[in-house]
């Protein structure tokens, strides 16, 4: 009896891990009349491996994410731990998880400026050093802040995770990818002492920052490369249009789920010409099919 219960629990945890949904409560229809701008958000994602490694909130495999709310700003962020560190006996998910957790904590304690997300990333990166558990590895990161004062979105992005803002079916902003060379994005890193020289390490100031005003109903997608490498922009936009102006978190959640599912299935499709395959081809590598990767989808709409 006991064992059944344990399996049941594990099973439900596995499902939880595979398809975790976190909706924010700010989507309450009763709060529709709120005059202050805010973000309604939903999250969905998958770990690349079917095996469960970590049962922590805020992670999908080596990806990590966070959402946080403050008086003056709503913040979303994703980070993708660089998998290459596994060969050195370092868990790549740890770096991204703690990077995001530190961001969340900094926001919750009000130690950040809504107009400067790259500073938030830098502070969070600095905090990693002060963790007693020595955290090693590297990660890409993307942070999006809605400044409530002027309804403007401030963004910072390092590497190939990114965001996309869609207004009435048109992509009005999309982050740029930063790569050293093909499939090697810019990354924040903390290599083991003595390895410094051979490791790619980009400082937090290399983050590309941007800011632009948003309107009521704009849809924001913040995702890791597992999404952008597997889903062509047209498919993503098709999905995002469905939640233009949506204020119900549950409906937002459905679309987030479907984007994540699509990315997941296409990543294992060996015949599909994915954006990743196209980019590989452009770099002289002949490959076809999706790119199996951890997938994180953070979907939000602006409610003013």
């Amino acid at each position: 009896m006991h064992s059944i219960w344990v399996t049941g629990r594990l099973l439900s945890r596995a499902i939880w891990n595979g398809l975790s949904n976190y909706s924010t409560s700010s989507a309450d229809p009763a709060l529709k009349q709120k005059s202050e701008p805010c973000l309604v958000s939903a999250v969905c994602g998958f770990s690349k491996d079917k095996k469960i490694q970590r049962l922590l909130k805020g992670t999908f495999g080596d990806d990590a994410w966070f959402t946080a709310k403050q008086k003056n700003a709503d913040v979303l962020g994703v980070a993708d731990g660089v998998g290459g560190w596994r060969a050195y006996g370092i868990d790549p998910g740890e770096f991204s998880l703690h990077l995001m957790k530190n961001c969340e904590r900094l926001v919750n304690l009000g130690r950040f400026q809504p107009t400067n997300p790259s500073e938030l990333l830098a502070k969070s990166y600095y905090e990693l050093l002060h963790h007693k558990k020595s955290i090693l590895g590297s990660s890409t990161a993307c942070v999006v802040v809605l400044n409530k004062e002027n309804s403007t979105l401030y963004t910072a992005n390092i590497g190939d995770s990114g965001y996309m803002v869609v207004r009435r079916g048109k992509v009005i902003h999309r982050s740029e990818e930063q790569q050293h060379y093909f499939n090697t994005p810019f990354q924040l890193s903390l290599p083991p002492p003595g390895y410094q020289e051979g490791v790619l390490s980009d400082t937090p100031d290399t983050a590309i920052t941007d800011n632009f005003p948003v309107e009521d109903g704009d849809v924001i997608l913040v995702a890791t490369d597992g999404v952008f490498d597997n889903l062509p922009q047209s498919i993503i936009v098709n999905e995002l249009v469905k939640v233009q102006g949506e204020r119900s978190a549950s409906r937002l959640q459905m679309v987030a789920n479907s984007i994540a599912w699509m990315a997941r299935s296409l990543s294992f499709d060996e015949t599909f010409i994915s954006p990743f395959a196209e980019s590989a081809f452009a770099n002289g590598i002949n490959t076809i099919g999706g790119k199996p990767d951890d997938i994180t989808v953070l979907l939000a709409t602006v409610a003013i």
Binding site: R13, L55, N102, R105, H130, K132, S134, P193
Partner: protein
């Protein structure tokens, strides 16, 4: 009868003036139990619960001021770790635990052994809440090694803004689970929005950590005000009667013969030396002769007011100025932060009484500014100076002193060149503590100067000083008298090269060595220390990821005097191995941080 009547009445209809009689009865009833009227007996009200809004000050901090990990600020806001248990950077983490700090040679010995705090509070943190309430309930989320809180103070928001003890109790031995600590607090009817927690960690196995604090109480309202006004009136009516009774008692008492008059003065003074300050002040009121005895400067050669921080102001200090004609040791730690005139009082005290002053301790005194340092630098006889947590001075004149043996500048803004000047002029310096001094940007030069000028150095403590490099660390090898070397978090990410070998070869007398988070250290670099420093009692290797179980085993076997080996977050060492060691070496304390996640999803 009146009590019943009051309860049934609706708050808005309550006419307090007409019910005064009822109140006084109620007051007398309540007073027997709590000393004040119980508001909740009069009107039903809802408690307002709130989390701490900000941190005002603290004595203990694990990390640099600009970092959030383990920082005091983590005590604010809702709990984030609870109900998980363990060592998390998201909570407030205290720096010391157990007897290890007290047993250091550099530790400040108490100046007045006859006047010790019975609960020996070592550290405190003062936190503020957004809304002032009449406190009824305090809840503290302790998430690692609970049981260190010994006292809770509340600062009344009205009137004289005095501090009141809301709860106090002996340190507790608790289970290794996170807990909500819910002490039964003293019932007071004053508004409070600042509370202070005092800790005594001396019984703990490892650091303690606090996630959040909740203050529950009643908000101020007109109704509450009216009730309190009535209480005041009732109190006023009753007080004179009490006084009269007292007077009667005194006049009724028989005058017993004064044996003290027969004793020689020296003997009387000797007896009085065993009295604490409170008793001395009481005795001074007995008669003229006792008054004179109690004011004898011989009784005030060593003065520690730290325990009385909540009542020490410039007036009190002035009172002592006349008594302390011959003062040698003065401890004003934690004092004077509420009184803006304290700085002036202190400087006048110091300029009048610095002649023989040898020991001075001003921990957490915010009045220590540049001007005060100027006065301190004129106390030529100083041998022991403690300026822990005084971040409001920059201009150091301390190189005027030349007899220093111990110097504690933890968390101050001392700069490299000033410190080097101090080292140059104090060749007898034995203990130097410069933990968390973030303005030391070129610590290598300071170590070099220390190796050159202060050959007698026994203690060097520079916890969390990232400007130290392996080049600087090498110079410790020239300080052969070192017994206590704390270099935690100094060589965080850089490679130590041969600095540990140099230390091992030079400092053979080492008893305590802290190498926390020297992440570049590996087995072969650590081995010289284990083989050369056979006197080692405490070895801290926290967070050194590449250490193997073999080298730790070597340390445990080779170092016969070892009592503490901290291998927390040494991820390559297996927990079962640690359990085996604990059985095999029961005399050695092998702490290991844990993280038990509960409901973390």
């Amino acid at each position: 009868m009146a009590y019943q009547f009051m309860k049934n009445i609706k708050p808005e209809k309550l006419n307090l003036d007409t019910n005064q009689a009822g109140f006084s009865e109620l007051f007398v009833k309540s007073k027997d139990k709590h000393g004040v009227i119980l508001l909740e007996d009069v009107v039903k009200m809802d408690l307002l619960d709130q989390y701490a809004e900000n941190v005002i000050e603290y004595t203990s901090r694990f990390n640099c001021a600009n970092s959030l990990s383990y920082a005091p600020a983590n005590i604010t806001g809702k709990y984030v770790v609870y109900p998980s248990y363990g060592d998390f950077p998201d909570a407030y983490f205290l720096r010391s635990y157990g007897k290890w700090w007290v047993e250091r040679a550099a530790y400040q010995k108490e100046y007045m052994l006859q006047d010790l705090d019975p609960l020996s509070a070592e550290d405190y943190i003062t936190i503020q809440f957004e809304i002032a309430v009449i406190p009824r309930d305090i809840c503290i989320y302790e998430i690692y090694n609970p049981g260190a809180i010994v006292r809770i103070w509340g600062k009344t928001n009205t009137g004289d803004k005095s501090w009141v003890v809301l709860w106090e109790g002996q340190p507790q031995i608790c289970l290794d689970v996170s807990r909500k600590f819910h002490p039964q607090i003293k019932i007071i009817n004053n508004l409070v929005n600042t509370i202070r927690l005092e800790f005594n960690q001396s019984h703990l196995k490892y650091h303690t950590s606090i996630d959040a604090v909740v203050l529950g109480g009643y908000i101020q309202s007109e109704l509450v005000n009216e009730i309190l006004n009535v209480q005041l009136k009732v109190e006023k009516n009753q007080k004179p009667i009490q006084k009269q009774e007292q007077i009667n008692e005194v006049s009724d008492g028989k005058v017993s013969p004064d044996y003290f008059s027969d004793l020689p003065y020296e003997v009387v003074i000797h007896i009085f030396q065993y009295l604490d300050l409170k008793s001395l002040f009481l005795c001074a009121q007995v008669n003229k002769r006792w008054y004179e005895i109690c004011n004898d400067p011989a009784l005030y050669q060593n003065l520690s007011l730290k325990r009385y921080w909540h009542i020490v102001n410039s007036e009190v200090l002035k009172t002592f100025e006349s008594k302390c004609k011959n003062i040698k040791k003065l401890d004003l730690s934690w004092c004077g932060n509420e009184d803006p005139t304290f700085k002036v009082a202190f400087t006048s005290f110091l300029s009048a009484r610095c002649k023989n002053l040898t020991h001075l301790s001003l921990g957490n005194c915010h009045f220590v500014k540049n001007e005060v340092i100027q006065f301190i630098s004129q106390c030529n006889e100083l041998i022991d100076l403690r300026l822990k947590n005084t971040p409001h001075w920059r201009i150091s004149r301390l190189d005027c002193l030349n007899k220093l043996v111990s110097l504690d500048l933890t968390s101050s803004l001392i700069q490299d060149n000033d410190l080097i000047q101090i080292l140059k002029s104090n060749p007898n310096l034995k203990h130097l503590i410069i933990d968390l001094c973030e303005d030391l940007r070129r610590l290598d030069h300071v170590v070099e100067a220390a190796a050159q000028y202060t050959k007698k150095l026994e203690t060097w403590s520079s916890w969390k000083s990232p400007s130290l490099s392996f080049e600087g660390a090498k110079h410790f090898g020239a300080l052969e008298n070192l017994t206590d070397l704390d270099l935690g978090w100094c060589l965080l990410t850089t490679h130590p090269i041969d600095s540990l070998t140099k230390i091992a070869e030079g400092c053979k007398k080492l008893k305590r060595l802290i190498l926390s988070e020297w992440r570049g250290v590996n087995d072969s670099l650590l081995l010289p220390i284990i083989l050369n420093c056979s006197d080692l009692e405490q070895l801290d290797l926290l967070g050194i990821r590449s250490l193997s179980a073999e080298v730790c085993e070597t340390a445990l076997v080779t170092l016969k005097k070892l009592r503490l080996l901290d291998i927390s977050f040494c991820t390559r060492i297996d927990q079962t191995q640690v359990e085996l060691w604990r059985e095999r070496f029961p005399h050695i304390n092998i702490p290991r941080s844990c993280q038990f996640l509960v409901n973390y999803l």
